[in-house]
């Protein structure tokens, strides 16, 4: 073991190999939106055609041409979300589940029940004879309310009883088992007027003591009593408490904790006002316990630029919270706060010194090292009107041109640290694929560290050839799953 307490060999970029690419052979599998290690296999839930849906929703004005070829009718795309299963011993992927279709409230018979699977957790609940895989879904507003699916064996999937969601709730994300109950919180809303993938119509955490029998109940007051808390975005247990982080576009994220007990729980506020950064820390998007502290990725929803609320663009921050509620700034902007003078202990600014890193999307411990994966919007630059950008950014762009720029800076970043203070990059360019704009999931397993990406640049991407834009098939568009391992990980793993 090293002096800093890390016991494993840190992974370098070269330790990672690609286990699948091109969205499992279907470029419309844009996001590997959820991932879990279950019964000796890795499971990945996809979300489909996000970038096509964003175009139709008109949420990204000024983007031209649209980065991918996408039809005017979303139903021209098969948006049935998928779950894929990987067996490390045979290096094989299998399509384990595909969303059914239902009769939608738009009169169509081909409305997918689920267009995405946004969360996964392995839980052994009261009625479960063994640990089961639970999957939270994303349903279009033309279908039904979102479900939580359950599988015992990775083969058969069935929806369990839903929480009493409001009609506008479209998805939930976090699934956290704590103090004898499963917990989840809605994280998107949608109606025929439009949708928001990161803000729900209710800021409620639901708890259920036995998912086999239903009975989901709210365990917190709506928004923890603050109407500005639009959503409880992430949940995690730490130090005998359940922690919840909010999206708050008015004053910045709040983080609350509870010891549990009888619902509704008593909650204590840990911090507010975006940890003193205000709206630029609008939400808490990722949480991970590491060496006695809770690490939290904070930032602005919608990739670091919440246009509707006029927040950003700005890169994400990382903080860590100690059991006594004191906290450190790990990467971000130095500032005076009600909690004292804070400066980035890592010496790095927001987004690990990159404006493009809008999120720390996932944090994960693996063999004594903390890994942090980002979302980067750098790959959008060729499609954006940049003439009004700050001069220093334009200088860089002019120096290289946008294609060279994204070749150097396009793609998400993965960082590692043995102590939360000393950070080194594993990759700064999406493992060499500029289309991997996000490290969406990271899961530690006995076989190594699985890293799954968000990559919406398929099936056909806009490229400029001889001065003209055209859509061409993108063999590296669609989510990818990478496996990082060292010689130590290659040792035989005992079957579970």
């Amino acid at each position: 073991m090293d002096a800093d307490g890390s016991k494993g060999v840190p992974l370098q970029g070269g330790d990672f190999r690609l286990t699948c690419l091109n969205g499992f052979g279907d470029g419309w599998n844009h996001y590997a939106h959820s991932m879990a290690w279950f019964r000796g296999k890795i499971y990945v839930g996809t979300s489909r055609a996000q970038l096509a849906a964003l175009r139709l929703a008109g949420q990204r004005k000024g983007v031209r041409p649209w980065p991918i070829e996408s039809p005017d009718d979303i139903y021209d795309i098969d948006r049935r979300a998928q779950i894929w299963e990987y067996t490390p011993e045979t290096d094989e992927w299998r399509l384990a589940y595909r969303s059914p279709v239902v009769h939608g409230n738009n009169g169509r018979d081909d409305v997918p029940s689920y267009i995405g699977f946004r969360g996964m957790a392995v839980i052994q609940d009261t009625s479960d004879a063994e640990p089961c895989l639970y999957i939270s879904s994303w349903s279009p507003h033309t279908a039904h309310s979102p479900d939580v699916l359950r599988t015992v064996d990775g083969v058969t999937y069935a929806a369990i009883a839903r929480p009493p969601f409001g009609a506008a709730v479209r998805t939930c994300r976090a699934l956290e088992y704590f103090d004898g109950r499963a917990h989840l919180s809605p994280t998107a809303s949608g109606t025929k007027k439009g949708f928001n993938q990161d803000i729900s119509s209710e800021a409620v955490i639901y708890g259920c003591a036995d998912m086999g029998r239903g009975e989901w109940v709210p365990v917190n007051e709506e928004g923890f009593g603050n109407k500005a808390n639009g959503t409880v975005f992430e949940l995690v247990q730490f130090n005998g408490h359940l922690y919840g982080g909010t999206v708050n576009p008015v004053t910045g994220t709040e983080i609350w904790k509870t010891k549990g007990g009888k619902p509704p729980y008593t909650w204590t506020k840990v911090l507010d006002c975006g940890a003193g950064r205000g709206r630029l820390n609008e939400g808490s998007g990722s949480m991970c316990v590491f060496k006695g502290a809770l690490y939290v990725g904070c930032g602005i929803i919608n990739g670091g630029y919440h246009r509707a609320a006029k927040i950003g663009p700005a890169a994400a921050e990382m903080i860590r919270i100690w059991p006594d509620d004191s906290w450190d700034l790990i990467a971000g902007e130095a500032r005076h706060t009600p909690w004292g003078l804070k400066f980035p202990l890592s010496g790095m600014g927001p987004g690990m010194d990159s404006l493009f890193n809008g999120y720390f999307w996932r944090l994960c411990e693996h063999q004594g090292w903390l890994y942090a994966g980002t979302f980067s919007w750098a790959m959008m630059i060729p499609y954006m009107a940049v003439n009004r950008w700050p001069e220093d950014m334009l200088t860089l762009l002019r120096r290289w041109g946008d294609q060279e720029f994204v070749a150097r800076f396009g793609g998400a970043e993965l960082w590692r640290s043995p102590d939360g203070v000393h950070w080194q990059p594993v990759t700064r360019n999406g493992f060499g694929n500029k289309f991997n704009w996000g490290i969406r999931n990271i899961v530690s397993t006995p076989h190594g560290l699985f890293v799954a990406t968000a990559n919406p640049f398929g099936p056909k991407v806009a490229v400029k050839r001889e001065g003209r834009w055209q859509y061409v098939p993108n063999p590296r568009g669609g989510c990818e799953v990478w496996l990082g391992s060292t010689a130590a990980d290659a040792l035989p793993v005992q079957p579970q």
Binding site: R277, A334, R335, F343, D392, T395, Q424
Partner: protein, 300 residues
């Protein structure tokens, strides 16, 4: 011949590291160079990439040092030759460049000022890993004096590094105490593992130059005879004093290259920990964390 272990002068920005390097560099047993910024990266190739990305003069100190030591002097031609040489070393660890310079100036002992690494723990870790037996001098300056000088330098500048600002305000406002605290806290973490040869308050040079120079020499095991002390008093004659050639003019901290307004110098010479800070418009004083640490260093 054994190459003497280099000495690093580690300090918060605007704490006098470049000035002290000029003083020590005049001692006949020492050879001081500008700031090298070697430990921004693990390898020379990565370092060159970072230099190319930056719009400041981070490469200038290293280029000037190599030009002077290896390529015929601090000229544009020497700088170009230094750049080409570095490119041939792309696969080498940055520590190898430090060893190269230390060997080239041997038997004199290499002295490197560094007011950048203290802001970044990863850079300090690289420094410690590269030279486990590194000898360091922890150079201190009162946060008031440091802040007044930094604020005077920053006055009217279009670009001031984000590290020197308080981002609680929009737009962010200058507040040098943040960088001071950050650097000093990082250095104390470094020195917890291996204590510095000397913790030296730069104000000692103003109070009694000869006594301060003698104490520096004693800590470094150097002769402090009259000729050495006279040489040290003439730091303006240091081979790296002032600007370098057109292609690499910087490499020293601004306070070693530019002049401050007399009023700023007067104000910097009246340190206090208890009054509102002159560079802020909101009446804020030093943060309690800054005051505590400054007092621990003997400042009041």
């Amino acid at each position: 011949m054994i190459t003497p272990t280099p000495i690093y002068l580690l300090a918060a920005p605007f704490s006098g590291a470049s000035v002290l390097a000029g003083i020590l560099g005049q001692h006949p047993a020492l050879y001081a160079v500008p700031e090298l910024n070697l430990f921004l990266a693990d390898t020379v190739g990565e370092l060159l990439e970072i230099f190319a990305l930056g719009q400041g003069g981070h490469a200038h100190g290293l280029l000037r040092a190599l030009a002077e030591i290896d390529f015929g002097g601090q000229t544009d031609e020497g700088v170009a030759a230094s750049q080409r040489w570095l490119e041939t070393q792309a696969a080498q660890p940055t520590a190898a460049v430090l060893q190269h310079l230390a060997h080239r100036v041997s038997p004199r002992r290499l002295v490197v000022p560094d007011a950048e690494s203290p802001l970044r723990p990863m850079d300090l870790q690289r420094l410690r890993s590269a030279t486990p037996q590194i000898n360091t001098i922890h150079l201190l300056r009162h946060p008031w004096s440091q802040g007044v000088l930094l604020a005077d330098w920053a006055r009217g500048r279009l670009f001031v590094p984000q590290d020197f600002k308080d981002h609680a305000r929009r737009p962010p406002v200058l507040d040098p105490q943040i960088a001071w605290l950050r650097a000093e806290q990082n250095l104390d973490a470094l020195f917890a593992a291996r204590a510095p040869l000397l913790r030296f308050r730069g104000e000692q040079l103003d109070d009694d130059f000869v006594a301060a120079a003698q104490s520096l020499c004693a800590a470094l095991g150097l002769k402090a005879d009259a000729s050495a002390l006279v040489a040290m008093a003439h730091q303006a004659q240091w081979r790296f004093a002032g600007h370098g050639p057109r292609s690499a003019p910087y490499g020293l901290e601004p306070e070693a290259l530019e002049t401050f307004r007399p009023a700023a110098l007067d104000l910097a010479a009246q340190p206090t920990l208890t009054t509102p800070l002159p560079w802020r418009d909101d009446g804020l004083g030093f943060a309690p964390e800054v005051r505590r640490r400054a007092e621990a260093y003997g400042y009041c």
